[in-house]
């Protein structure tokens, strides 16, 4: 059986090929993913190797550069390009994990609230509102104080802050779906609540969940960078773009490229994810109209 998924994916791919922003951002994302995965093969140097004799070398497009270090070196003499490449791993791993974990939490809560309504809905919406009232940086700081820092800790902390949009959107989409006749028809043929939620309603919400997922992934990457910049996220010597920015801060006036390079990387990655999600939303909406 070809199945509905196979066929609609093929038609989606066909329409995506005609959408310039999806093609460009998609190509960029694929490239950055390949670079991150193949970092040990691509990176010219060990990102952790200090060489104080070659510290603060400018990148290749500035005077006084060293051709051996395309993007120069940081204040400890570590190759900036290698750190940038390894930093992409951190950003992508954190972005993807947060998207999955928060997506799972938010979609589950949204489905339950939208389908059952009543008391369950009230409790879940109370949790959503409580979460909206929590300041992420204060909580992240407390987590670091109590548990120390680790990548897992950073992922879990950010995940617990980004599920609310999934929950709210899935909840309202579920409420709409519940009143559709096909849900009543499913009940009339003897489907259980669990089957109706996962087998009948969820497949109709996949588009919305994917689109929110891209938005939240971009957001998670930015939050990771911000947490690392403030010292609550990834710690030295692990290469993280936010951490590179934090170190570059004191060299702002004389070695400003230290700031521009990770900043530009972050900017383009987040822009690409957002453009991709945006284009995807348009494509999927067009699919709904068909």
């Amino acid at each position: 059986m070809t199945g509905p998924r196979g066929r609609s994916l093929r038609s989606l791919a066909r329409r995506a090929a005609g959408n310039a922003s999806v093609v460009t951002s998609g190509a960029f994302l694929i490239a950055i993913t390949v670079i991150a995965v193949a970092a040990p093969l691509i990176a010219p140097y060990d990102p952790y190797a200090h060489d104080l004799s070659r510290r603060l070398l400018p990148p290749i497009f500035f005077e006084g550069h060293d051709a051996a270090h395309l993007l120069g070196t940081d204040p400890f003499g570590r190759d900036y390009l290698s750190r940038l490449i390894y930093g992409a791993q951190i950003s992508l791993v954190i972005g993807a994990s947060v998207m999955l974990i928060s997506g799972l939490i938010g979609t589950t809560l949204g489905l339950l609230a939208g389908y059952y309504g009543g008391r369950i809905d009230q409790v879940i919406m109370f949790v959503v509102n409580t979460r909206l009232a929590l300041p992420i940086f204060l909580v992240a700081m407390s987590v670091v104080v109590v548990f120390g820092t680790s990548i897992t800790g950073t992922i879990l902390t950010i995940s617990l802050f980004l599920w609310d949009r999934f929950a709210v959107v899935v909840r309202s989409a579920t409420q709409q779906a519940v009143s559709r006749d096909y849900v009543m028809a499913a009940r009339s043929i003897g489907c259980s609540n669990g089957y109706i939620l996962l087998g009948e309603i969820l497949p109709n919400l996949v588009n919305a969940v994917i689109v929110i997922g891209t938005i939240e992934m971009a957001y998670a990457i930015l939050i990771e960078a911000a947490l690392s910049f403030l010292g609550f996220g990834i710690q030295e010597p692990t290469p993280s773009w936010g951490l590179m920015l934090a170190q570059a801060r004191q060299y702002l006036f004389f070695e400003s490229w230290l700031l521009y390079i990770p900043g530009a990387a972050l900017f383009f990655l987040v822009l690409a994810i957002n453009l991709f999600g945006d284009g995807l939303r348009d494509l999927l909406a067009a699919g709904d109209r068909a």
């Binding site: 070809t2 559709r180 009543m184 028809a185 499913a186 009940r187 009339s188 043929i189 259980s192 109709n204």
Partner: protein, 335 residues
């Protein structure tokens, strides 16, 4: 032979902020094997609510009270959800009004048909597909193999309603509830779908509850009729009798609203109407709900709940005025 479905004193209420809405009041009836029972009435009279209450599909805020609901002799009123789900779709099935939205847009027609069969039978995917294919042929869908691979949006309304009928028949139910099955279709398709339903009902030897607001549909389909008004049954009886000697002023009013070909050359002939509007069902309804629209109303009508009277065997009505008096007036104005 015992009844397929027996319903005793069904009440459906909705607690609203402005009071309690009495959507269905003390509705009782039986459905015999192999009969088509029509429930007829205007919008909001509680006919769909009655169907949903039988299938346990009411909105979660609705309160359903029922003295007895027996399906093939077994009380199913207080059956746990899990057991009830085994009946739904297998022994009793429902066809909905809106074929455009009753199919899930993300699954193919074949998937959705097979789903019913796999849910209730220990069957393989292959069995289910064969069954689905044969039913699509039975409901008159050309090129069934191709249709099975299509999505609901690729089918017209009439075809989708045929798919819904096929889906309801997948497990050969004993009872099928058709809730305004042709209302959303255009007139030529309506006639085809009705003929199809009637043929399949006879072929599968099913009982059918047909919910409609169209007396024309009742006349050509039903063995017996229940007329509902403002949440209660105001008259019930064999179709012939209801059309020949309607005994409740509301039924008489409905029949007067039917256009008559014999009256077409009469210049003075006008189509009948029922003056007034349906009373609010919020709060207790006192006396006869039809009193404020009834041409024969007397003071006693507004005092107490009107009891059911028998006009003949199998024919009962809920009115204080003896039918001989109202009927004379009906026959005069209807001609």
């Amino acid at each position: 032979m015992s009844a397929v479905l027996e319903l005793e004193r069904l009440n459906v209420r909705f607690p609203l902020t402005s009071g309690v809405l009495h959507a269905v009041r003390d509705v009782s009836f039986r459905v015999e094997p192999r009969e088509i029972l029509a429930i007829v009435g205007e919008s909001g009279c509680g006919k769909s609510m009655t169907a949903l209450a039988i299938m346990n599909l009411l909105h979660r805020r609705a309160e359903r009270r029922v003295e007895a609901l027996r399906f093939r002799g077994e009380d199913i009123a207080r059956l746990p959800q899990r057991k009830f789900n085994r009946l739904r779709g297998d022994r009793m099935a429902m066809i909905f009004q809106e074929p455009m939205t009753s199919l899930n847009p993300v699954y193919t027609i074949g998937d959705q048909l097979e789903e019913v069969f796999l849910r209730h039978r220990a069957a393989t995917r292959e069995d289910a597909r064969r069954r689905a294919r044969s039913l699509l042929e039975k409901v008159g869908i050309p090129a069934p193999d191709q249709r099975m691979r299509q999505y609901p949006h690729q089918l017209s309304g009439g075809l989708r309603q045929r798919v819904m009928i096929a889906m309801a028949l997948m497990c050969e139910p004993d009872l099928i509830i058709a809730d305004e099955p042709t209302t959303a279709l255009d007139v030529t398709i309506q006639a085809q779908v009705l003929a199809l339903l009637k043929r399949l009902q006879a072929e599968f030897e099913m009982a059918m509850i047909l919910i409609t607001h169209d007396l024309g549909v009742v006349a050509r389909m039903a063995d017996r009729v229940l007329v509902m008004y403002a949440g209660e049954i105001v008259e019930s009886g064999p179709t012939r009798r209801i059309f020949d000697s309607p005994s409740h002023p509301y039924t008489q009013g409905l029949l007067r609203c039917l256009p008559q070909l014999s009256a077409a050359d009469d210049a003075d002939a006008r189509l009948g109407t029922i003056a007034g509007v349906v009373p609010s069902l919020v709060g207790e309804v006192r006396g006869c709900a039809f009193a404020n629209r009834c041409p024969h109303v007397v003071d006693a009508c507004r005092a107490d709940r009107v009891a059911v009277a028998a006009a003949a065997a199998e024919h009962s009505y809920r009115c204080l005025i003896p039918p001989e008096r109202t009927l004379a007036n009906f026959r005069e104005t209807a001609r």
